[in-house]
């Protein structure tokens, strides 16, 4: 537990000090919204189209953070440092998952209002949507932490990480889209179908958190 807190504190401190991931993610999201406005030639979105634009943007912004997640560990000896210490290495996995989760929350705190201002006629569905996004963040963080670790130890890691990550995230995105679509419906949010999709999101999160926790030690061995 102490190891988890130490590593998480280190990550957040470094990010606050160097601001390597967060501004890039936020800027990327807003710029992408603008591109969508012109690419789709629409100034108002609802339902599945709104959900798609938002989720795809969040997904690719997350990729920016995921690619950088273990760069310091690899370049500055972090992996060695943690393997030398008498700690349970799952603490590293847990700390990185939480760090990524926090980055995504901050990103959405910026991107969601901007998205609503750009494209939504009525913001009633935003709060439940934020809840759905929290579950999506957890899935992105769990899967992202595992794949990013694999990528950190390989050549061409910037290519490999998204390549492996994107197919793995498809079920998460399917469930996220399914839940977001009724919340962003034209006439106001509807909650009919949301239940089963939220259930799927939760299941995905659980499976990948467990799998990540189970395999993580094997990824760091030498």
């Amino acid at each position: 537990m102490a190891a988890f807190r130490t590593i998480l504190a280190k990550d957040l401190r470094v990010e606050l000090r160097t601001l390597q991931s967060l501004p890039a993610m936020a800027l990327f999201a807003v710029t992408t919204f603008v591109v969508f406005r012109f690419g789709l030639d629409r100034t108002s979105l609802e339902g599945s189209l709104a959900a798609g634009v938002l989720l795809v943007t969040v997904l690719f912004a997350a990729l920016l953070a995921i690619n950088r997640l273990f760069v310091a560990e690899r370049d500055e000896g972090g992996f060695d440092a943690m393997r030398l210490a008498p700690i349970d290495l799952s603490a590293l996995f847990a700390a990185k998952v939480v760090a990524l989760f926090v980055y995504l929350l901050v990103l959405e705190a910026i991107a969601l209002p901007v998205f609503a201002a750009f494209f939504l006629d009525d913001a009633a569905g935003l709060l439940p949507l934020a809840g759905v996004l929290a579950l999506v963040n957890l899935g992105l963080a769990a899967t992202g932490a595992v794949v990013s670790t694999v990528g950190a130890h390989s050549r061409a890691r910037d290519l490999l990480t998204p390549l492996i990550l994107l197919p793995l995230l498809v079920p998460l995105m399917i469930a996220a889209g399914g839940a977001a679509e009724p919340l962003l419906a034209a006439g106001g949010p509807s909650y009919d179908e949301v239940g089963k999709w939220v259930g799927t999101l939760a299941l995905y999160d659980l499976v990948f958190l467990l799998v990540g926790y189970a395999v993580y030690d094997f990824l760091l061995e030498d």
Binding site: S154, R155, L160, V170, P171, T200, V207
Partner: protein, 245 residues
């Protein structure tokens, strides 16, 4: 490998017999489908191939677990070959699926068929197995990461099918009624024989590839022992060498 398993030759012959029988049954015994007519018979090819591909991926996950638990490289080789066969069978499944869609519905791809779409996503995921192995130079780490991948991807397969199935749900009718719809007796029997034949084909090809790798490994060991200056048979950078130096 288990000494009680039949020889490669026996397996190959049995496969030919069963598959041949399956084809014969498909052409002459099974009735034509009421909706789609003769074209539907590609079902006896497509679905068994797809099932075997998925079975191969699950098998790879099982071998991967064994590899991580014991560290024995033979399990890594088996996992690698299972995925290799899975990709080959998967390619065949996607192609036969496309042919079926084209023949029955006029389009080469149908998004409405959740099984086909799930299968495509799984296929795309497992296709990244090769770039993953190429990207990691240290052999032991490469094998370990490949096993982690096989396990993660194995856990992913049911999740994926579930999510895609949910997405299609009640709005779109299932385009291809498969064996769970309650096939009439003759179709079911033909299907089962075809499935057995494909499974045998999978097992035989896997056995063949494992034997080829083992032989290549032995050959390079013998060469090295006989003449230390002879260049080793160049091992592929990603294919595991079959356990042993």
């Amino acid at each position: 490998m288990n000494l009680r398993m039949p020889s490669l030759k026996t397996m190959a012959l049995t496969t030919v017999v069963v598959l041949g029988g399956a084809f014969a049954l498909a052409f002459f015994y099974a009735p034509n489908d009421a909706d789609q007519g003769f074209v539907q018979k590609i079902f006896y090819l497509h679905v068994p191939i797809a099932i075997c591909a998925l079975g191969g991926f699950i098998l790879a996950a099982i071998y991967a677990i064994a590899h991580l638990r014991t560290g024995n490289p033979i399990h890594d080789v088996r996992s690698y070959v299972s995925i290799h066969m899975g990709i080959i069978f998967g390619t065949a499944a996607l192609l036969t699926g496309a042919i079926w869609a084209r023949a029955a519905w006029g389009k080469w791809w149908v998004w409405e068929e959740p099984t086909l779409v799930s299968f495509l996503i799984v296929y795309l995921l497992y296709a990244t197995y090769y770039p993953l192995r190429y990207a990691i130079e240290d052999r032991e780490r490469q094998a370990r990461y490949a096993s982690v991948f096989a396990i993660t991807a194995g856990a992913f397969v049911p999740l994926n099918f579930m999510a895609v199935r949910l997405a299609e749900s009640l709005v779109h009718p299932r385009v291809f009624a498969t064996s769970e719809g309650g096939l009439p007796g003759e179709m079911l029997f033909t299907f089962l024989v075809a499935l057995a034949g494909m499974a045998l084909l999978f097992a035989t090809l896997m056995r063949f590839e494992l034997a080829a790798k083992a032989t290549r490994g032995q050959l390079s060991r013998m060469r090295r022992a006989l003449d230390s200056e002879a260049p080793a048979v160049p091992a592929s950078r990603i294919a595991p060498s079959g356990g042993g130096s």
